[in-house]
Structures are given as structure tokens and as C-alpha cells.
């Protein structure tokens, strides 16, 4: 296998890229070797060297502790628990949450044999001890059976710490039309209804 084929083969392993799109991407980079390919190779090289997993929250960054954990402007009294780094990025994009994060690294799954010991649960418990400033833990796991099971499990484990444990609301999405919603979302939205302020 020559170098070009190797690049195509490696690119085709990326999410969203099949062999055809990998070939197109490789060709595009080859045509812009100095303007794109070399900077990309350098950036990837630096990333491989410098990327760290934050020992506190499990985030990916070039520092340990990560920039979220060390940001002095963030609220130390709130921790938002998410499944994966992608979920942290999604919440960061909204700009609506200025507390700290904790990444579980997955969810409990009977089918995949993932138990509590496979997730970053103990490190979460150590962050909500009596000598810590945390007052609220927001569980932002996905609204799947496994995500919800994990949320219930965490609620039980966190009960002894005395912190307030909250859960993301679920129901009708912004712009959603009732006629097009599935039964599960509609019944969840009905159960989670709340009074309107006048």
C-alpha cells in the first residue's frame, strides 16, 4: 500500500466518511498540499502530543485540569453530568450553563455489559463531598432507557451527599408540532406540565 492509499484508508475510518468520500478528501488535500495538508498534519501531530484527559471531569483538552475546570468565572456550586464529551460541547454551544461539568464516559448498559465500575462515577462522588462547594448536580444523560437508568442510579448514589439532584426537562421541542410528535414524547410532556405564570 503506497502513502496515498494509506491516507485514503485512514480517512475512510473517520465517522461520516466512506471510501469514496475519503478518496475525495485525500485528493483535495493532495491538491492543496502546502496550504492544507501540511498544516493539517502539523495540527494533528501537535494534538496527538498535547491532548490530555482531564483527571477531574473527564473532558478532553490540552491541559489537565481542563479549561472548564480551571475557569474562575464558572459557578462551582453546579455540576452538569453528561455521557460523552460531545454532550459537553453541545451544552457549551448553548451558552446557557456556566457551571462545571462531569463526563461519565458512557451509560449503564446490561446488553453491552457496562456496569457502574466502567463509568466515572466514583470521581463524581468525590467532587460532591461535604467539604466541596457543589450544591446541585444536574443529570443531563440522554433520554434513552440506558441514559435514564444511569440517571436513576446516580440519583441513588448521590442521595447520601445531600446535594440537590436535578434532571433536564423533556417534552415538546422548540418548534415542535404536537401532530408530529411520538407518543412517548407527548406523554412525557403531559406528565412534566407546569403552571403558566400570569
Amino acid at each position: 500500500m503506497n502513502e496515498i492509499e494509506q491516507v485514503i484508508q485512514l480517512l475512510s475510518r473517520l465517522p461520516g466518511l466512506g471510501p469514496r468520500s475519503a478518496r475525495r478528501a485525500a485528493l483535495h488535500m493532495i491538491q492543496k498540499r502546502e496550504g492544507l495538508m501540511r498544516p493539517l498534519a502539523d495540527a494533528l501531530d501537535r494534538a496527538v502530543e498535547n491532548i490530555r484527559i482531564c483527571a477531574t471531569c473527564g473532558n478532553i483538552d490540552t491541559h489537565d485540569p481542563c479549561s472548564v475546570c480551571t475557569d474562575p468565572k464558572r459557578d462551582d456550586t453546579q455540576i452538569c453530568v453528561v455521557e460523552q464529551v460531545g454532550d459537553l460541547w453541545a451544552l457549551e454551544r448553548t451558552g446557557a450553563f456556566r457551571g462545571r461539568f462531569h463526563i461519565l464516559g458512557g451509560v449503564l448498559s446490561a446488553l453491552d455489559g457496562i456496569g457502574p465500575e466502567d463509568l466515572n462515577i466514583e470521581s463524581l462522588l468525590s467532587r460532591v463531598g461535604p467539604d466541596q462547594p457543589v450544591k446541585e448536580v444536574i443529570l443531563a444523560t440522554n433520554l434513552t432507557v440506558d441514559g435514564q437508568t444511569t440517571a436513576h442510579y446516580l440519583t441513588e448514589r448521590l442521595a447520601a451527599s445531600g446535594v440537590s439532584v436535578t434532571r433536564l426537562a423533556h417534552g415538546v421541542p422548540v418548534g415542535g408540532e404536537l401532530d408530529y410528535l411520538d407518543d412517548g414524547t407527548l406523554s412525557a410532556a403531559l406528565k412534566a406540565r407546569h403552571a403558566l405564570e400570569s
Binding site: P15, G16, L108, A110, L111, D112, G115, L143, T144, V145, Q148, T149, H152, Y153, T155, E156, D182, D183, G184, T185, S187, A188, K191
Partner: protein, 238 residues
């Protein structure tokens, strides 16, 4: 090969970026897996969740192939259970027990009906006793039925408080007294239909757990599901 059948989704395992291998317990085809494409689409992500009752279309070139599932929702069982940890854990436990205990492609239409009914009954107040009785029904369906009709030693029909760990038959208080420490407790609600307390439910889970381990799971070297253990923990703490 094509067939259409109703099924309760038992488990979903991601496969690649956009697909999942879905295991379902169907009425006429037993426990059967299939590939579902675009499983994260708006249309499917609420449907492909364990516990939901769906109409499945399975298609493959040969019977032994994994095959492709397409499905539509018949009943969203899981949504009402999401906010209740006990009910959700019981639902997960039932799905995991069927996954671990029922051989693939072996039809059990009666068990399918009881599993479908259980998924609906879990949203009712008496769900704990319904769940335990479902486990007893699962044992019976798999050929290891428990017999609480009379004492295995004396034939008495009253005063049944034990179960033999070997035969699964009830034993009266009088006949079982010398072997008290070797017999399993028989909670009264399984005979009378009264509302069980948390301690009764724990005893009942220990009873069914013994026979599930001994007869259903031992042959496949599998353990009782974690979710069932969490359910027992909840009742122990209650």
C-alpha cells in the same frame, strides 16, 4: 425470507454510525435480532427503545442471516416508566431475563403475551407483585414451574411457608421445620394475592432468583441481570 410479527424490544446495540442491532421478543418467531438502519432518525429514535411494543418486518436473503428490521410503534410502554426508577428497573430486568434465558428463534407465544401485559402493568400501582408473578410464569414457560398447590411432603394445602430448593414444590411449616435453614421462604402474597410488603418482595425475588440461576441461567454461564439486583436493592432499602 420475509415475515411480519409483533414484538417487544429487548435491547438495542449501536452498530456503526447510524444503525443498531435490535433484539426483540416476537410472538411467533421468539427472540430474534435484526439490523435497524437510521436508528437515530427523528422517526425511529423514540421507537427503538427496550420495552416498546412494535410491529416488525424482517427481511433477509437467507434465514440464518442477521436480516433487516423495519418497524412501527404499536404501544409506547417505556415512556410512562421513564421517570420511575423502580418501574424502569423492573422493565429492564424483564427484558434482560428474556434475553438471557430464552433461546433464540424459539417461539413462546404465551410468554410474549405475558411480557406484553407486564410492560403495560408496570405503570399500575400493583406492579411489584405483578413483576414477581411474571418471573414465576417465566420459569413455568421455560419448563421449570414452581408448585405451590400442596405440601410436597404431606400433601397439606394449608400452612405452606417454604419451598424446596431442589424441586420447587411448596412445603408446610410443620413438615419443613427440621430443614428450616435449607428451605426457601414462600411469601404469603404468592398464595393469597394480598398486597406484599418490601420484605415479602425481596423474599419472592430470592425464591425466583434461586430457580432462575439453577435452571435457566446456569447452562449458559450467565448471571442474573444487574437491573434485577438493583430492583432487589431498592426493595431492601424500602
Amino acid at each position: 425470507m420475509d415475515w411480519q410479527d409483533d414484538g417487544v424490544i429487548l435491547g438495542v446495540r449501536k452498530h456503526g454510525e447510524t444503525s443498531a442491532i435490535v433484539s426483540a421478543f416476537t410472538r411467533s418467531h421468539g427472540r430474534h435480532a435484526g439490523l435497524v438502519r437510521q436508528v437515530s432518525s427523528k422517526k425511529l429514535r423514540g421507537i427503538v427503545q427496550p420495552g416498546n411494543l412494535v410491529r416488525l418486518n424482517w427481511h433477509a436473503r437467507l434465514e440464518e442471516h442477521l436480516g433487516i428490521y423495519s418497524m412501527e410503534l404499536l404501544q409506547s410502554n417505556v415512556a410512562p416508566l421513564m421517570l420511575d426508577p423502580g418501574k424502569l428497573t423492573a422493565m429492564m430486568s424483564a427484558c434482560a431475563l428474556v434475553s438471557a434465558g430464552v433461546p433464540e428463534h424459539e417461539p413462546h407465544p404465551d410468554l410474549f403475551e405475558t411480557l406484553s401485559s407486564l410492560m403495560v402493568a408496570l405503570d399500575h400501582d400493583d406492579w411489584p407483585s405483578v413483576y414477581v408473578k411474571w418471573e414465576i410464569g417465566l420459569l413455568a414457560e421455560l419448563g421449570f414451574g414452581l408448585d405451590f398447590s400442596q405440601c410436597a411432603a404431606t400433601g397439606e394445602r394449608d400452612g405452606l411457608v417454604y419451598v424446596s430448593p431442589k424441586t420447587g414444590r411448596a412445603v408446610s411449616a410443620q413438615a419443613g421445620r427440621p430443614y428450616h435453614d435449607r428451605l426457601l421462604a414462600l411469601p404469603a402474597f404468592l398464595l393469597t394475592g394480598e398486597v406484599p410488603g418490601a420484605a415479602d418482595l425481596v423474599q419472592a425475588l430470592k425464591l425466583t432468583g434461586h430457580f432462575l440461576n439453577r435452571h435457566v441461567l446456569a447452562h449458559s454461564s450467565k448471571a442474573l441481570p444487574d437491573s434485577r439486583g438493583r430492583l432487589m436493592d431498592r426493595w431492601l432499602k424500602a
